[in-house]
Amino acid sequence: MAVATRPVPALAPPPQPRRPRVLLVGTAFAVAAVAMSFMGLLGIYVKVRAEAIAGGGTWLPEGVTIPLTPPNVAMATLLMSVVTMQWAIYAIGNRDRTNAYVALAITILLGAAFANSTAYLYSQMGLVVADSVVGVLIYAISGAHLVLTVAALLYLGLVALRALGGEYTPTDREGLSSAALLWYGTVAVYSLIWYIVFITK
């Protein structure tokens, strides 16, 4: 007589090992490196400007004006993008993918608008890079930041495409968080440039 053996209960899958947050930590190091390079640039800017003013001269060359409106609008744009970026993370955390897509799209749009406003500022300043120390410094600092912004936007775009492809969940959104960290770093650096270069001139 055949004996029926007891069915083997399905074993629960083993818990996933905790995934190291390498992308987030790596991005934090990269942001630190970027921040230090801008500290170096801005330090030289402040020092050279102080020496020029202490020597009795004027800082901006004759005929050059830096209008306040474009950098102010750019700063406001970036601050809004911080809100939308955080909105995207919050939405993913709540499994609200639609809101996450909208927030990411708006963040990228605001980033592009910032790049546009910087280009507009360049056209308004009347500052020629080869004519003065000021030109060298301002174009080096703001140009480097523009490159950083484009790099951060590319990263955001990649993350947005991945989100559209179904990646990121409330428990696994490291890619999104790391892109956000880079974006916040970009905004923080601009806030320094905005104050030191454009506001206090």
């Binding site: 390498v22 190091f29 970027v34 230090m36 390079s37 003065s132 120390v133 060298v136 080096a140």
Partner: protein
Amino acid sequence: MTVTETRPDTTAAPEAEVPPEHAPTSRGLPALLGSGDHKVVGRLWIASAFVYLLVLLGLAALLGFEDADQSAFQVLGSDVYVQVFSLSRVGAVFLVAIPLFLGVATFVVPLQVGARSIALPRAAAASFWTWLVAGGILIGSYAIDGGPGGGDAEGIDLWIVAFGLVIVALVAASVSVATTVLADRAEGMRLTRTPLFSWSMLVATSLWILSLPVLAANLLLVGIDHRYGQQLFGTDADVWAQVAWAFHQPQIYVVAIPVFGVVLDVVATASGARPRFRQAAMVVTGLFGVLAFGAWMQPFFNAEALDDLWFIGVAWVSLLTVLGLLLLVGETVGRNRPKLSGPLALAVVSFLLLLGATVAGGFAVLDVLELWDTAFVAGQMHLTVLAAVTGGLAGVWYWLPKIAGRKASDAAGGLVALLVLTGATLVALGMLWSGALDQPLLATTAIEVRDGVEALSVLAAIGFVVLVLAAVVAALSLVVAVRKGLTSSPEHRPDDPWGGQTLEWSTTSPPPWNNFAEPPAPVLTASPLFDSVEEGA
């Protein structure tokens, strides 16, 4: 009806038939060019740094012989002299010392912390190839009369761009190493249980990440200014002055931070004893690293640095940290007499050179001695870089069983250590002493002949020739060991030939594609392999 349910047959196929998940299938050149395996990338860093080392030591010897007769430029022209001067310095730090440590770290750190791979492996691979190409362009820029002291404006621009790319690549590689230590350690390995070499690399890479971008920012401004108008500091003569801070103390010490880790790991293994005060060792390493941050020494911020009490204090406290390392190593050696070996000899020489560098650094900053801007500073820089390169060499010798499968000859290691010690002593003696006799740091014009200085310059040049000999002997010994490793059978490739304490010695030599056949057991102490031995006993 009879129903019999049985478990499906899940018996694993023989191990050899199951390739590891995601294991690469390509071979040859495509596997080399496209590999993100940290072991491949680490070997590439080490081999490339070695090639640059041989070239640059030859150039340094040439400079020494040029210095031998200062009444005229006989070996090199005055412009070429400045170019070779800058190339030897940029190359020593950015093409040899830092890349050598990054190579060892890229290979060893993931194994030491029990990770399956390096963090951000594509970034690690991309950084190596970027560095290699940019380093080639940097040297090539001199060939078209570029670089500091060059006469071709576009050649100088090319040098600035290439140097910037080299820095970006080194920072990216540093991010991979630092992230591996911080975020990818094995279960149970708290930061305080991190192997001391990995810890020293975390400190070093953090400092490289924080200070090298400042140098890149300098280069950006110099590059834009040089190309457009030369209003600020972009004239040909100013290019070197603006980046020279990276080659003087305290910043130059950042290249030597991993010496602490290599010395501590090698001595602990050779002694067969757990380092008793390892947290003190971590603090001392960290302090040396923090003091080495030198971006505040840029000429724009600190033209009067010699009068700065902080500057003088940093130099002397750096010496105290090295003496602290001596105490910690002495404590370990005092408990258990170390076995003599090639890595130990190299580590000891590396430590002695670093000690000499920090002592010289202490005197260099004393304004009353008027040694700054003399050859004394060059001697101090060379001692520091030689300490770093010798430390890197000690690391390669120590971890060669993992890198290549076989140990290198201990006798050859001892010979290399002896040659390095002799060569470095001659170099240091020549430069430090001639600096004390007011020999300028960079003589761009023929200067009056003075008693003694020429003989000292010859002494330094002979020292560099001895160092070239040391590098050749080291390269030959390593090539022989690598060939043996490639041709020997697995039973002749012991997993742990030294009796090591850390996780890298628990896997095969060389390690498999994903580093460990089985995930490492939870780490309970800083010397997990000692725990295994004690449990077994």
